[in-house]
């Protein structure tokens, strides 16, 4: 019993000591020169060939520098490449590289290093590698000029070089095959392995030889992945992290009342009902234009934004981003909420009693959106039969063409990105490979032109897709990023979370 009592005493002392000194340590997560952020996901492998985009970018930004740097409007600006230009066919891009940049292992950044990176990274199959797939060859001219030849014009290629796809690692580390676990770049920081625990905390300390040190005011960057909305809120409110994305809209008010600032911005995602089987292959009704139009009339977008997104979104009937050249505000008036009209169209299409369609049960991921979709479809006579799919399998099953339609949120940045993601015939999210001559012709025109001609082609393509009711989008969603009063942050167009260079100390 004495031992037990001693044990109890030890615990009591421990609790007491901790309670007395707790305040200092919890509040000490981030000093004025340390930026502590909580990304939603843990770091992926450091080899850029396996890199993802979106929430993963905050891990790559400290250690790797990119050929170009996107400004807050996502316009490419000079970075490792100081000049760039296309030839007349828009397929050969020439880049002039900055002088005197070194990787943290001492290797010099030169044309050969860029060539080695692009050739290595395009062999991967994750999102960043996907943006490099169009590269046919890379040639060097001297030590500071790189010539990239594309298989076909890619209007988004230059902008992509300002993101993870344009990041450059040490060619020596690529060759040694050590990049997967140890990043070696020429970025503003280096990974401090002694203060890093995979999946839990990643610490980056200054690279004192970085060429643009003044653009990064923090001495240290700490990334602590947290995916539970409550844990995120608690970490923010107790001052353990300086910034994190709030994924549950109802937590925004709690964050505000906890003394945090909220940054609202559209990351470039369009959410709503995507009609994958618009050819009617597995669900014949969806092959009919009137049925797809009926689905569009079935949704009360204004109400959906209030109930599903707590007001954080903008109603849309288009899959293109509002800031893109293809977007046309007038198209949003095409399908006002009109359940009677939806029913009439269904009857005209030969489905007076509606029809049934299998839909993957996404209630674990998008509970409110799914409930609203099922209800509003039911109101016009369309029965959504929910099919259980394990969360890890949802994307696979959708991409395998097992479902004719579903709720989904897809990235939508520049016009060409949207074409590349979901409209082009062989693109990932054109699951049933639908195409019609007008779509093909307009894509072709947009791809091979520039300026006003290209803008017109994109606008016509958008109009055609809305007329044909390819999908039934609801909203351009808005993200809420909560940040402490110790830092300032500006939003970055087309990204789910601000880049690390968007943060500065508040003082």
């Amino acid at each position: 019993m004495r031992r037990v009592l001693i044990g109890a005493g030890v615990v009591a002392v421990l609790v007491g000591t901790a309670a007395c000194s707790g305040g200092a340590a919890t509040g000490g997560g981030s000093g004025s020169r340390t930026l502590t952020l909580a990304p939603l996901v843990p770091a992926q492998p450091w080899d850029l060939k396996d890199a993802g985009l979106g929430n993963n970018t905050q891990y790559y930004q400290p250690v790797y520098d990119s050929l170009l740097r996107l400004d807050t409007e996502a316009e490419p600006k000079a970075n490792l490449a100081t000049e760039w230009s296309y030839d007349s066919t828009n397929t050969v891009l020439t880049l002039k590289l900055r002088d005197g940049v070194k990787f943290t292992d001492g290797t010099t950044l030169d044309a050969a290093a860029v060539k080695a990176n692009l050739e290595h990274n395009k062999t991967g199959s994750q999102e960043a590698a996907g943006q490099l797939k169009g590269i046919k060859s890379v040639a060097t001219e001297g030590t500071d000029t790189v010539r990239i030849t594309l298989a076909a014009p890619d209007p988004s290629f230059v902008a992509n070089l300002g993101s993870v796809a344009g990041m450059i690692a040490s060619p020596k580390a690529i060759e040694a095959g050590t990049l997967k676990s140890t990043p070696v770049g020429s970025g503003p920081y280096t990974l401090d392995k002694s203060a890093t625990t995979g999946g839990s905390v990643y610490t980056f300390v200054r690279n004192k030889d970085y060429w643009n040190i003044k653009a990064f005011p923090f001495d240290k960057i700490v990334l602590k992945p947290l995916n539970d909305p409550t844990a995120v809120l608690n970490a923010l409110r107790s001052g353990q992290v300086d910034g994190a994305l709030i994924t549950t809209p109802k937590n925004v008010a709690a964050a505000k009342s906890g003394g945090l600032n909220i940054l609202k911005y559209a990351p470039g995602d369009v959410a709503g009902v995507y009609i994958w089987d618009r050819g009617g292959k597995i669900s014949p009704p969806l092959g009919k234009l009137k049925v797809r139009q009926a689905i569009n009339y079935a949704f009360d977008r204004t109400e959906l934004i209030k109930s599903v997104y707590q007001g954080d979104g903008q109603a849309t009937a288009q899959v293109f981003n509002p800031t893109s050249t293809a977007y046309d505000t007038a198209l949003n008036e095409k399908y006002p909420y009109d359940p009677a009209k939806a029913k009439a169209l269904l009857a005209e299409a030969g489905y007076p009693k509606g029809f049934k369609v299998d839909i993957p049960d996404l209630s674990a991921i998008f509970p409110e959106a799914q409930a609203a979709m099922v209800q509003q479809l039911a109101d016009v006579g369309i029965t959504a039969k929910l099919v259980t799919v394990p969360p890890g399998e949802v994307i696979n099953q959708l991409l395998a063409g097992k479902f004719a339609m579903s709720y989904m949120s897809l990235a939508s940045f520049h016009s060409w990105d949207t074409v590349q993601i979901q409209i082009g015939k062989d693109t990932t999210w054109n699951i049933f490979k639908n195409q019609d001559p007008t779509v093909t012709k307009l894509i072709n025109t947009a791809q091979h032109s520039t300026g006003a001609e290209q803008d017109t082609a994109f606008k016509e393509l958008d109009t055609h897709l809305v007329d044909q009711a390819w999908n039934a989008p609801w909203a351009v969603v808005e993200n809420s990023y909560a940040y402490s009063k110790k830092v300032k942050v500006v939003p970055q167009a087309f990204t789910p979370v601000p880049g690390i260079y968007n943060f500065t100390p508040a003082n």
Binding site: A8, A25, G29, P42, S181, T197, S200, A231
Partner: protein, 313 residues
């Protein structure tokens, strides 16, 4: 005692083997296209096929299992299919987090439940009733709710202890203790309730026995009577309950780690199961089952030490 331990050890090894085999079979039966998940959404079918071959997924399940088992017996649990990191290295990173909160929870529940149980049995009256009510409430409260309440009030509102995150012992023992107290407490509440009831019941039984009355009539001090005789005889039953509670604590760790943003074995298991990362999940299962076996073995040893009759049982 030796043969008793040997028997327990052998049954533990069999348990680890059976559970790991079942897990492997179940994971491979789900039909998940893991190769596509790993290769990424932009992967061509050739790249998916290449990934399948690289992971050995194109081979019969039995031969995949034998490969895994062969490696595991030599201490090599393979590499995570998603991160590419060695499973043993990942577990070495995550295990201390889970061990800290689970063993912390076990220690807390052992100490507090004995104190409460003994006090209730010996003092009786109001104290007994209060302990009983508290125990029922504690038993009814799920650990995630306790975790949410503690994180909000103690962590966020009062700022006494960290609301999220884990500091390693090597980095700072003080900060480590602070980071594990709330999660341990969240886990311990249910176990304390169950074990305190058990201790109370056993103590009441023992205290009513003839030999206690005899010892008391010989003028033995109350303290000696309680600690040397009654509690020692009441402890085995409590230890049995504590052993069972440990399994519950390990299960509860999954949720508690989530609430406190701890990257431990629980959250790793969650992610690995969701992704279909077989090597990582197998590693987690082997480690956790081994842990349960070892802790139960230690409790058995403690039982044997307290009660010699157990050793021949």
């Amino acid at each position: 005692m030796k043969s008793f331990l040997a028997r327990r050890l052998l049954s533990g090894v069999v348990l680890v083997f059976v559970i790991s085999t079942l897990t492997f079979v179940l994971m491979r039966m789900t039909g998940t296209d893991v190769a596509r998940n790993i290769a990424g959404v932009t992967a061509s079918s050739a790249q998916v096929a290449e990934k399948k071959t690289e992971l050995g997924l194109d081979r019969p399940v039995f031969s995949q299992y034998l490969d895994w088992l062969g490696g595991a017996l030599q201490g090599d649990l393979g590499r995570s299919w998603f991160s590419g990191d060695p499973v043993t290295a990942t577990l070495t990173d995550k295990l201390p987090v889970t061990l800290s909160i689970v063993l912390g929870g076990l220690l807390l529940s052992a100490v507090v439940s004995v104190l409460l149980g003994v006090a209730a049995a010996v003092r009786g009256g109001v104290l007994d009733r209060v302990v009983q009510v508290v125990a029922v409430i504690g038993f009814a409260l799920p650990s995630f709710l306790v975790a949410l309440i503690l994180a909000f009030f103690v962590g966020v509102k009062w700022g006494l202890l960290p609301a999220t995150g884990y500091t390693t012992f090597a980095e700072s023992p003080g900060a480590w203790a602070q980071s594990v107290i709330l999660p341990s407490l969240s886990l311990a509440v249910g176990a304390i309730a169950a074990t305190a009831q058990q201790v109370r019941g056993s103590m009441l039984d023992i205290l009513a026995k003839d030999y206690i009355r005899t010892l008391r009539s010989r003028g033995l001090s109350n303290r000696s009577l309680l600690l040397k005789h009654a509690l020692r005889n009441a402890a085995p039953a409590a230890l049995t309950v504590l052993g069972l509670q440990f399994i519950g604590l390990v299960g509860g760790a999954v949720v508690v780690e989530k609430v406190f943003g701890l990257a431990g074995i629980g959250s790793t298991a969650n992610v690995a199961a969701g992704q279909g990362d077989v090597p990582l999940l197998m590693g987690v299962v082997v480690v956790m089952v081994t842990l349960v076996v070892v802790v139960n073995l230690l409790l058995d040893v403690a039982q044997g030490w307290l009660n010699p009759k157990v050793r021949v049982g």
